[in-house]
C-alpha cells in the first residue's frame, strides 16, 4: 500500500468538509494510505502571497518541514490553493538564498525536497482509470451528464503545476467517464470563478460564477463537478447570488469529484457527505435515472 503525507487544508475542517471526508474515503477504498501532516498549519492561502512572497513561502514551508517526520514519497492535498502555495514554496526554495531566508523564519528548517501533488494527480497517475474501473460495479453513473470544472490554478502555470493540460485538462473527465458519466464539452474548464472575492466584492464573484453556471446549464449538464473548495463555495453556496446577476434561475447541483467516485463505489453515505451540499443533488440523480429508462 502506498503511503502519502496528507494536507487537508483549513477549509477541509469547515466549508469543504464533504470534500475532505469523501477524499479520505475514496483514497482508503482505492488502497492509498494517508498520513496527516502532523500538527499542520494554514498554507497562507491567497492573502499571504498578496502581502509578501517570503511570508507566504514560510507559512507553506512549515508544513513541508512537519511532513519530514513521515516516511512518505510525496505530500498530497485536495485543495488547489494549498497545492499552489506548497508547490510555489518548494519551487522558490530551489534557490539557496531564498531557502535560507525562509528557513530563518521557521523554528524548524526545511531539509528535504518532498514532491507535492494534488490528490487528483495521484488518483489519475498512481491509481488510474483502469484500476478504478476494476473496483466498480459496472458503470454506476451512466446517464449522468456533468460539466467538469477544474478552476484556474489546478493546472496553471504549467511550469509549476506539471500536471495535465493547462488549457484543456482532462484528468477529472477521464475519472468521471470511468464511472459511466457523460462529460459535456465544457469550454470554461479553467476560467476563474471569482475566487476569494466573494466576501469583499461579491458582485465580481457572482458575475464570473454566473457565466460558468449558465454555460453548464445551456449545455444540458445535470450537475457540475469540481476539485476546488473555493470554486465549490462560489458555485454552490453562492448560486443564488449568481442567479440574481444572471437574471435567471439556476438549479445546478455542484459535486466534488471525490463525492461522485464515492457514490459510484457505493461507499456509506457518511463517507460521501451529499447532505452538506447547499444545492440539493437529487435533481441530478433523478435526471440520471430518467435518462436510463427505456
Amino acid at each position: 500500500m502506498s503511503v502519502y503525507a496528507y494536507y487537508p487544508g483549513c477549509s477541509g475542517l469547515g466549508t469543504s468538509i464533504e470534500y475532505d471526508i469523501s477524499t479520505r474515503a475514496v483514497c482508503q477504498a482505492l488502497g492509498l494510505a494517508l498520513a496527516d501532516v502532523p500538527d499542520w498549519s494554514c498554507c497562507g492561502a491567497t492573502p499571504a502571497h498578496t502581502v509578501d512572497h517570503l511570508l507566504s513561502s514560510a507559512l507553506a514551508a512549515r508544513n513541508l518541514a512537519q511532513a519530514e517526520d513521515l516516511d512518505v514519497q510525496a505530500l498530497i492535498t485536495p485543495c488547489p490553493s494549498c497545492l499552489t502555495n506548497l508547490k510555489t514554496a518548494m519551487h522558490r526554495m530551489s534557490d539557496r538564498d531564498f531557502r535560507g531566508k525562509v528557513n530563518k523564519l521557521l523554528d524548524r528548517p526545511v531539509r528535504r525536497d518532498l514532491p507535492v501533488k494534488s490528490v487528483l494527480q495521484v488518483l489519475v497517475e498512481d491509481v488510474g482509470p483502469e484500476e478504478l474501473a476494476s473496483r466498480l460495479p459496472g458503470k454506476p453513473l451512466a446517464g449522468l451528464k456533468l460539466a467538469p470544472y477544474y478552476g484556474c490554478i489546478m493546472n496553471r502555470p504549467p511550469e509549476l503545476m506539471r500536471f495535465d493540460d493547462h488549457e484543456h485538462p482532462t484528468a477529472m473527465d477521464r475519472l468521471m467517464q470511468t464511472l459511466g458519466a457523460e462529460v459535456v464539452p465544457f469550454p470554461l474548464k479553467v476560467e476563474c470563478c471569482g475566487a476569494s472575492f466573494g466576501v469583499a466584492r461579491k458582485d465580481i464573484t457572482a458575475r464570473l460564477s454566473a457565466k460558468l453556471l449558465e454555460t453548464a446549464q445551456d449545455l444540458g449538464a445535470h450537475a457540475m463537478v469540481t476539485a476546488c473548495p473555493l470554486c465549490h463555495m462560489n458555485l454552490d453556496l453562492r448560486q443564488g447570488q449568481a442567479a440574481s446577476v444572471a437574471g435567471r434561475q439556476f438549479r445546478i447541483p455542484v459535486f466534488y469529484y471525490t463525492q461522485l467516485i464515492a457514490v459510484a463505489l457505493r461507499l456509506p453515505q457518511d463517507a460521501i457527505g451529499l447532505s452538506k451540499l447547499c444545492v440539493s443533488p437529487n435533481s441530478a440523480f433523478k435526471a440520471m435515472r430518467k435518462a436510463l429508462r427505456p
Binding site: 483549513c10 477549509s11 475542517l13 469547515g14 466549508t15 469543504s16 468538509i17 464533504e18 500538527d39 499542520w40 498549519s41 494554514c42 497562507g44 492561502a45 491567497t46 492573502p47 499571504a48 502571497h49 498578496t50 502581502v51 509578501d52 512572497h53 517570503l54 511570508l55 514560510a58 507559512l59 512549515r62 512537519q66 530563518k104 523564519l105 521557521l106 523554528d107 524548524r108 484556474c152 490554478i153 496553471r156 502555470p157 504549467p158 493547462h166 488549457e167 479553467v190 476560467e191 476563474c192 475566487a195 476569494s196 472575492f197 466576501v199 469583499a200 466584492r201 461579491k202 465580481i204 458575475r207 464570473l208 453556496l237 453562492r238 443564488g240 447570488q241 447532505s275 452538506k276 447547499c278
Partner: protein, 186 residues
C-alpha cells in the same frame, strides 16, 4: 488616448524595484494584449492588465500603486500562462500590491481588510477560522447585510465551526509573522 510625459514622470527606481522583487524583465512586454484578452477581471479593473504593464514600463509609480486593479487580481494565472514572452504577469501584480501596502495605498479597502482578517486569524490560531474571519471583517467594514442571505443556507449544514481549531504549534506560526515583521522593518 492618454499621453504620459515620461521624461518628467518616469520613476526608474520603481521599475528596478519591481523587476528585482518579481524576478521579471519589464521591457520584455511588447504589448500584444494577450493578458488582457484572457483576464476574467478586465470588466472590474480600472486599468487593464496590459496597460498596467505599459505604465510600468513608463515608471508610473503613483498611478499604479493607487489603482484598483492590483487589488482585484485573483492570481488566476491566465496572463502568466498565456504570455508569449513568458513574463510572470501575475507575480508582477502581486509585487505591485506588496509595494502599495508598504506605501500605505489600498484602493479596494474591503479586499485588503478581508485578507488582513484572514492572516490575523492564522497568526492567532495557526489555522484560518472561517466564522472568526467573517466577524472581524464585519467589525472593520460595517458590511453585514450583503451576505446575510447565505446564513440560512450554510448554518443548517453544520459545516461552520463556532470555535477555532488551534494547533499545538500555533506559537511557531505566530513566530513566522513576528520574524517576518522584524526583518521587514530592518
Amino acid at each position: 488616448m492618454e499621453v504620459v510625459d515620461i521624461h518628467a514622470s518616469c520613476d526608474a527606481e520603481f521599475i528596478a524595484e519591481v523587476e528585482a522583487e518579481s524576478s521579471q524583465r519589464i521591457a520584455e512586454c511588447y504589448q500584444c494584449g494577450n493578458c488582457t484578452a484572457g483576464c476574467p477581471f478586465t470588466f472590474a479593473y480600472d486599468i487593464p492588465v496590459s496597460q498596467i504593464m505599459r505604465l510600468l514600463q513608463a515608471g508610473q509609480k503613483r498611478r499604479l500603486l493607487t489603482c484598483k486593479s492590483i487589488w482585484l487580481c485573483a492570481t488566476c494565472e491566465s496572463c502568466t500562462t498565456r504570455c508569449p514572452n513568458n513574463i510572470d504577469v501575475a507575480r508582477i501584480m502581486d509585487v505591485l500590491r506588496h509595494l502599495a501596502r508598504r506605501e500605505g495605498y489600498a484602493a479596494e479597502r474591503n479586499v485588503k481588510v478581508f485578507w488582513d482578517a484572514f492572516l490575523d486569524s492564522v497568526e492567532k490560531h495557526g489555522r484560518s477560522f472561517e466564522l472568526g474571519i467573517l466577524a472581524a471583517y464585519i467589525a472593520k467594514t460595517g458590511r453585514f447585510w450583503p451576505d446575510l442571505g447565505l446564513g440560512p443556507k450554510i448554518l443548517p449544514k453544520g459545516k461552520l465551526g463556532f470555535k477555532p481549531h488551534p494547533i499545538q504549534g500555533k506559537k511557531q506560526v505566530a513566530e513566522i509573522f513576528r520574524r517576518f515583521r522584524e526583518i521587514s522593518r530592518s
